[in-house]
């Protein structure tokens, strides 16, 4: 009796999809808002798709009043799931107030962090406020690889942060970005995530955009490296089945975008300045939360995906994969 929105059929089982796979056309609001709350970051990672780093906050990031107005609209529209990322979300001066607001209105919130601010006190606070999960980036299973990739980063500090989360009882997810110099550690990294008490492990292909454009020649994994990388992951899915979800995107960006053209996901990407993107891997902006309501932007979202410039960009990407280097040159639809 529970059915797909587009294909009602009484008596069928309950089909499950993910927010990214749930088509947005019939929904009254997004199912997921991924909010980059600031572009400021304490680290300057080689692969950062947002070009975040120390002193990299946008000059026009949302002010406090705008931030809380957006949060209020999000909760009023019953968006069930939000994530705060960045930059590093925990350096935002109102970070805990924002978390408190969302959790206080029964929203399910995930924090995506580099783990360097996960002190025992902060972890206890996150537990008390009731965040759904904290996702920590651990790109490497050793000091050598992690610190090389996460410029200014400290593997031991991030590791301790994850341990502090576990001690506080906060659900943990681990994210891993592959590079030419950490790709061989994937098996150990998955094992480490399980040992640290994570319930999910995410990875996928590193994207050619942001800081990676400048560092690609010294950090991009080759196709020869990706082969065994994904083989190990397939094996780890089976090894950890029922204990930890090992989740990875093997599909290339182009295939993903071609699918999205016809099946826009029910999620919005909110940038630190309130601009709303169709999807992270495209430069297209479909709204501005400083001037428009979330409901208005959602109303425009489907039409924006049908703009011929979007399909053309994806077609061009097939000819020139390096077009992703222009993702930060926003195109307003």
């Amino acid at each position: 009796m529970a059915v797909s929105a587009n294909a009602p059929a009484a008596g069928s089982g309950v089909p499950a999809t993910t927010p990214a796979a749930t088509e947005s056309g019939d929904l009254g609001a997004p199912l997921y808002i991924a909010w980059q709350v600031t572009n400021e970051c304490n680290l300057a990672c080689l692969h950062c798709i947002e070009e975040s780093g120390p002193g990299k906050a946008f000059h026009d990031e949302l002010n406090d009043e705008q931030v809380f107005r957006v949060l209020e609209q999000t909760m009023d529209l019953e968006v069930p799931y939000l994530s705060f990322s960045g930059g590093e979300p925990m350096v935002h001066p109102r970070f805990f107030d924002m978390v408190e607001y969302v959790c206080g209105r029964n929203g399910q919130l995930k924090i995506e962090t580099n783990g360097h601010y996960l002190t025992p006190e902060n972890c206890a606070r996150l537990k008390e406020l009731g965040v759904k999960a904290v996702q920590v980036s651990l790109d490497g299973a050793s000091r050598e690889t992690f610190n090389r990739m996460r410029v200014r980063g400290d593997f031991d500090l991030a590791l301790q942060g994850v341990r502090n989360l576990h001690a506080a009882g906060v659900p943990i997810e681990i994210n891993y970005s592959p590079t030419s110099f950490n790709v061989h550690e994937i098996g150990i990294a998955v094992d480490l995530a399980a040992e640290l008490g994570a319930y999910s492990f995410y990875t996928g292909r590193t994207m050619y955009t942001g800081n990676a454009v400048k560092t690609w020649h010294r950090m991009a994994p080759s196709e020869e490296q990706y082969g065994p990388f994904f083989e190990v992951l397939h094996a780890k899915v089976d090894e950890y089945r029922g204990r930890m979800r090992v989740y990875f995107h093997e599909m290339g960006l182009l295939e993903e975008l071609r699918y999205r053209l016809h099946h826009p996901a029910a999620l919005l990407i909110v940038l630190p300045n309130g601009l709303v993107k169709l999807i992270n891997a495209l430069p297209f902006v479909c709204g501005d939360l400083r001037r428009q309501s979330l409901a208005e932007i959602w109303g425009h979202f489907q039409r924006a995906w049908q703009d011929p410039r979007v399909a053309k960009f994806v077609d061009d990407l097939a000819q020139d994969p390096r077009k992703t280097a222009t993702l930060h040159q926003w195109v307003h639809l």
């Binding site: 009796m1 993910t18 927010p19 929904l27 995930k110």
Partner: protein, 83 residues
């Protein structure tokens, strides 16, 4: 019986959606399934829900009752509800 800790529900024009945020799975519901979830949220006893839906949908046969019972069993099996 209530929705499990990580399950969120929202009504839609076509019915509703259940979102299990831990596994990040989304379940789209038709109007009858939506009515079941609404009953769960309002605190109706599990045993009463099929009969309440039968009455609500003016169903003279057993189809709604049976579907409701099957759906509740499925919600349990998928861990979307808890006691």
């Amino acid at each position: 019986m209530k929705l499990a800790k990580y399950v969120k529900f929202r009504e839609e024009k076509f019915g509703g959606v259940l979102f299990e945020t831990r596994s990040e799975k989304v379940y789209t519901l038709n109007p009858t399934a939506t009515a079941v979830v609404r009953e769960i949220q309002s605190g109706s006893a599990e045993a009463d829900i099929p009969a309440r839906l039968k009455q609500r949908f003016n169903d003279e046969g057993k189809a709604i009752e049976q579907e409701a019972a099957a759906f509740i069993a499925e919600l349990r099996q998928k861990g979307l509800v808890e006691d």
